[in-house]
Amino acid sequence: MGEGKPLSKKKNILFCVISIVLLVILLFPLFWILVTSLKTEQEIFQNPPTLFPHILNLASYAAQIETGDFNMFRSFANSLVISTGATLIAVVLAVPASYAIAKYHFKGRNAMLLGFLVTQMLPVSVLLTPMFIMMKNLGLYNTWGAAILADATIGIPFSVLILKNYFSSIPKELEEAAYIDGCNRFTAFLRILIPIAKPGVVVCAIFSFLYAWGDLAYGMTFIIDQKKRPMTAGIFNFMGQYGTKWSYLTAFAVVSIIPVALIFIFMQKYIVSGMTSGAVKG
């Protein structure tokens, strides 16, 4: 596809311009909620709409800290706790499992691999009711724990499948050298293999976090107390109650994108590598 061939200067400029136009069109929705969150409610309903806020209005952000039931910074903290918890579980369990699948042909290996592949396809609806009953029986209903345990089930299979590739690409000789130096299988795994597979571990952590951060179904179903609910459920509730208060809603949305944007800015290369090695959103 003309790849490898350097472009003429004229074409180079033309393509740059086209790509900027594409970027503006495709990312317009994000720009639009950001500017809307900075407008007054009056200006939002103004016709014709303004492309940039005439009066910079930060009241929509400030108001959320005060209003008791829908404190967006509290639900932000809830989301942070839930996503971090789910990420920890997913990484701690997936790292050894992926190593095993990559390096050993143990009994039941293929069945296990198939199991992880299938769980990636499951619709959340199949799991919700039984998990709901389970969380009630475990006494976890309406706690962060319920959402953490449930969200980890999205991160684990993804992480196992991604990391498996990282571990397979590590040459056997490295491991064997470690054995000669006196490592056993466990210490070799901890001291030699995990450090080498670190980029893969980072990819898994990022995606497990993002999956948990984006979850609505589990957080909304297993936690009913608004004070403990994650951000997504908070936004959903808010929409039900103040359906047309767009200044507040867009501010809420912008705050929930902040961690995603930060991850994006600082760890872009990991994201692309995660997506191309079979990442799929559940």
Partner: protein
């Protein structure tokens, strides 16, 4: 003791590493799947959900669904939605992948930025598109009006057919980066020499696209479409937040209808039955993907 030691001497030591993750998934995913299946053959409502006697009713829930017009509509909606999304996100994603595969200066950073829609929480995407498609305050109606394409504001989300259009638009926006990045990766694996020798043979660019690019990309295209189908067919958050299945149950998907039956109408068994039907469709389509992946695994 000796037997155990012998069992774990070589490859089977892998079991010790893999078991914790596997058990976790067995408890929190495996058991729920089985339990959901049982649930769909019972008569569980809010009264006997946690305690109380659960009667087996056989296939009654499934038979009732066949006569349920909302269920039929949800099934058709899910299919239409999936096909529409796949077509647009694949074509746009493909075009963008080919474009960004050209070696111009800012190709890589711009392509990177285009990943954003795929990463943000779907609840937020739903909110954004609800705002864009809003009747009075929505920018889309304003834009169409100023271009004189429409005279009156369209009530996008409260009219069944246009609500579907809005849902597809939002989902395509999420799906484009995924399609683009996978196809981009596929493109880079095609050896450059193929194009060069084709050029020597006097093959035009259009011909080499159909005769080299498309056949070489076939495995990529297959997995993009199958994965796209799976992840679109089970759509939940987007529809639940944007329309909630409304107006009057016309935009329900299988997943949202299942949720409504279980957690709004408290007909847990019937909701489970819908979820199982959804699962069966996913497994049938997914089995093609599993076949490809597991085959690669054995080599």
């Amino acid at each position: 003791m000796k037997a155990i030691k012998k069992f774990f001497r070589y490859d089977n030591i892998g079991l010790l590493f893999a078991l914790p993750a596997f058990l976790y998934m067995l408890i929190f995913v495996g058991y729920p799947i089985a339990s959901n299946l049982v649930l769909s053959f019972q008569n569980v409502t809010v009264k006997n959900l946690v305690n109380g006697e659960k009667l087996f009713v056989g296939l009654q829930n499934y038979i009732e669904l066949l006569q349920d017009s909302v269920f039929k509509r949800s099934f058709i909606n899910t299919l239409v939605f999936t096909v529409a999304c796949l077509v647009f996100q694949f074509l746009i994603g493909f075009a963008l992948a080919v474009f960004f595969n050209k070696k111009f200066r800012i190709a890589k950073p711009v392509r990177g930025l285009l990943m954003m829609p795929w990463m943000i929480p779907i609840t937020v995407t739903a909110l954004i598109f609800k705002f864009i498609f809003a009747t009075d305050v929505g920018i889309l109606n304003y834009f169409l009006k100023s271009m004189s394409l429409i005279k009156e504001n369209i009530e996008w989300l409260t009219t069944p057919s246009t609500a579907m259009v809005a849902l597809v638009c939002a989902n395509v926006w999420i799906g484009i980066p995924f399609n683009m990045i996978l196809i981009s990766t596929g493109l880079t694996t095609i050896p450059q020499e193929l194009y060069e020798s084709a050029q020597v043979d006097g093959v035009t660019k259009v011909q080499s696209f159909w005769r080299i690019t498309i056949p070489m990309l076939r495995p990529t295209i297959e997995s993009v479409l199958i994965l796209g189908f799976i992840y679109t067919f089970k759509v939940y958050d987007l529809v639940y937040v944007m329309t909630g299945g409304g107006p009057v149950n016309t935009t329900h998907m299988l997943s949202t209808y299942s949720y409504k039956l279980s957690f709004e109408m408290f007909k847990y068994s019937k909701g489970s039955a819908v979820a199982n039907i959804l699962l069966v469709v996913l497994l049938i389509v997914g089995s093609f993907y599993l076949k490809i992946t597991m085959k690669g695994e054995e080599n």
